[in-house]
């Protein structure tokens, strides 16, 4: 990456050690937008690990951001466990039907074989190819959906919501099975050279209560983080939507970096947990990255930097969530350009003048 003095791996390593860097790490969370780099339809990623890898490597080379995340949708693990997923021609997949309808069926859920089931082998192939291609210069990660969220895809979100209050023991049985399979997939991801990147969308306080997160979400996340730490991997945990009531609990999972959505105020997160975790966020993916202008992207990056560049454990300038597929390339460029313009230490004159 000739635009930057350091490679992403060099930059992150130096940043974590408190050594000088060229600019803040920056991750526009590119998901299926990667298809647009190789002129492919989103559905072409299904069953084609090589294309998925090529697209993500092409996107990384095009934009020069600091993390590759192999991701197509949140359902890969649930699908491998029996959930029905619909793949539109050129849009992100969605859940067509959960794997189960009753709690009696929980015991019949199968243990996955990551080398065989659903789309997992293709995702693993993509991670392996991407890691071989650019893993020496940029972190290559594979999206890993958290056990609680996978559980909600296995039995249906409404159903799970009711069960948490009506039959908590059944929920624990289900999340435990999801956890065992998550762990199996995490091991397979590690074997490719890539690192799992955790997302547990349904744990959001927009959906469930903090108490429910502490009971049904956090304990399983903590076990995953413990495992990944035992494998010497740093862990980023993403939860969408409102998270302020659970920031401390998210930090308590042991995650090294929390990726927060634009529904969360980064300055407040910094005060609450910034001494414990690196923060990642939170340029609005829809309002700014998809619908905004490059000038608005720049302004939004500056706002993010003003809010949290002085976070004790550091800041990764990122989108609040995965970017919508049709996010203009110009806006992704603008995000990186804004971070380059500010440099490191952050150019406070530039930051002020944009006020």
């Amino acid at each position: 990456m000739s635009r930057d003095r350091l490679s992403p791996l060099e930059r992150l390593a130096a940043y974590v050690r408190g050594q000088p860097i060229d600019r803040l790490p920056c991750v526009p969370i590119v998901g299926n937008t990667a298809a647009r780099l190789v002129g492919a339809k989103v559905s072409a990623f299904r069953g084609n690990g090589r294309l998925l890898a090529n697209a993500h490597v092409a996107a990384y080379r095009r934009f020069g951001y600091d993390n590759i995340r192999i991701f197509t949708d949140l359902y890969t693990l649930a699908e491998a466990m029996g959930a029905q997923v619909h793949y539109p021609d050129d849009e992100t997949a969605y859940l067509a039907a959960p794997a189960l309808t009753t709690t009696e069926q929980i015991a019949s859920l199968r243990s996955i074989d990551p080398a065989k089931d659903g789309n997992l082998p293709h995702h693993l192939e993509a991670m392996e190819i991407a890691f071989k291609a650019v893993g020496h210069e940029v972190p290559v990660t594979g999206a890993l959906t958290g056990p609680f969220t996978t559980a909600s895809f296995l039995i249906g979100a409404d159903n799970l919501a009711r069960l948490m209050l009506r039959d908590p023991a059944a929920v624990h049985r289900l999340v435990e099975i999801a956890f065992v399979n998550t762990l199996a997939y995490a091991r397979a991801i590690l074997a490719t050279g890539a690192s799992p990147s955790l997302t547990d969308a349904m744990c959001s306080s927009t959906v469930i209560s903090p108490r429910q997160f502490r009971e049904f979400g956090a304990p399983y996340l903590r076990r995953l983080v413990d495992f990944l730490h035992s494998q010497k991997r740093s862990v980023t945990l993403h939860i969408c939507g409102k998270t302020h009531p659970i920031w401390t609990d998210m930090a308590d999972t042991g995650a090294d970096c929390l990726s927060l959505d634009n529904a969360a105020a980064l300055a407040d997160a910094k005060s609450a947990i910034g001494h414990r975790v690196r923060l990642m966020g939170n340029v609005p993916p829809s309002e700014i990255m998809l619908q905004g202008t490059p000038a608005q992207v720049r302004e939004s990056v500056f706002t993010t930097v003003r809010a949290a560049a002085d976070n004790p454990r550091g800041l990764v300038v990122a989108s609040g969530c995965s970017l919508p597929v049709e996010t203009p390339f110009a806006n992704i460029d603008a995000m990186l350009d804004a971070v380059r313009e500010l440099g490191w230490p952050v150019n406070s004159t530039a930051l002020q003048s944009a006020n």
Binding site: R162, V207, I208, Q291, E326
Partner: protein, 217 residues
């Protein structure tokens, strides 16, 4: 049991997520000859409104709201058949659904529950609904409002399409369009020419009431 005490018990049963107690007290209301409309409004709906307030203040979350609505519907199923036709006011109709390409319907379901509790008649088209169907159903049913939901950025354009189709059909002035969902903002609502945006289910009720009473939202 006086009517007021019965209403309070119904309200408490709903807000307490207690289907059994809602059933018992609804049956008692019928046995005591209580006006079912009053039992619904002062009991079930009052409980659902309290649940909505608890949701807004983040004491209740989606799971609690769903269980409250289960209790409310249990009561409605018992009480509604006893409403005398001539005392039943014509309720304003709302067509609701998740736009084409999206199947996330928890948000839509919550809005539906709160609007139903507020006394509107809801025509729920479900999820993954083409723009034309919203318009056709609104015209067919004489609905005053179309409520559109999506969680996905890829499907947002379909909301603008509904507004355009209403214009083409010449009925835009008769039907209010409200939008909501994760990636939606009030700025987006304005841009596509919708009449309003709501960020939560309880707020959607206030929005609809404002729009239909002619007060600028």
């Amino acid at each position: 049991m006086s009517h007021e005490v019965l209403f309070q018990a119904l309200s408490d049963s709903v807000v307490g997520m207690d289907e059994e107690s809602t059933r018992t007290h609804s049956n008692q209301a019928i046995a005591d000859g209580v006006d079912p409309v009053a039992a619904i409004e002062n009991g079930l709906v009052d409980g659902m409104n309290r649940a909505g307030t608890l949701f807004e203040t983040e004491e209740y979350f989606i799971p609690e709201l769903l269980l409250c609505s289960d209790a409310m519907y249990t009561g409605l199923d018992i009480l509604r058949p006893h409403i005398r036709r001539d005392s039943a006011e014509a309720r304003k109709k709302i067509v609701i659904g998740v736009v084409e390409g999206d199947t996330h319907d928890i948000g839509k379901n919550l809005v539906k529950i709160m609007l139903e509790a507020a006394g509107f008649e809801i025509i729920d088209l479900g999820r993954d609904i083409a723009p034309q169907r919203f318009v056709d159903e609104a015209i067919k049913s004489g609905a005053s409002v179309i409520a559109l939901s999506t969680l996905m950025t890829t499907t947002m354009d379909a909301m603008g399409e509904v507004v355009r189709l209403l214009q083409q059909a010449g009925v835009r002035d008769r039907v209010k369009v409200i939008v909501g969902g994760g990636p939606i903002s009030s700025g987006f609502a304005k841009r596509i020419g919708a009449d309003g945006y709501s960020g939560s289910a309880p707020a959607a009720v206030k929005l609809v009431q404002q729009l239909l009473s002619g007060v600028a939202a």
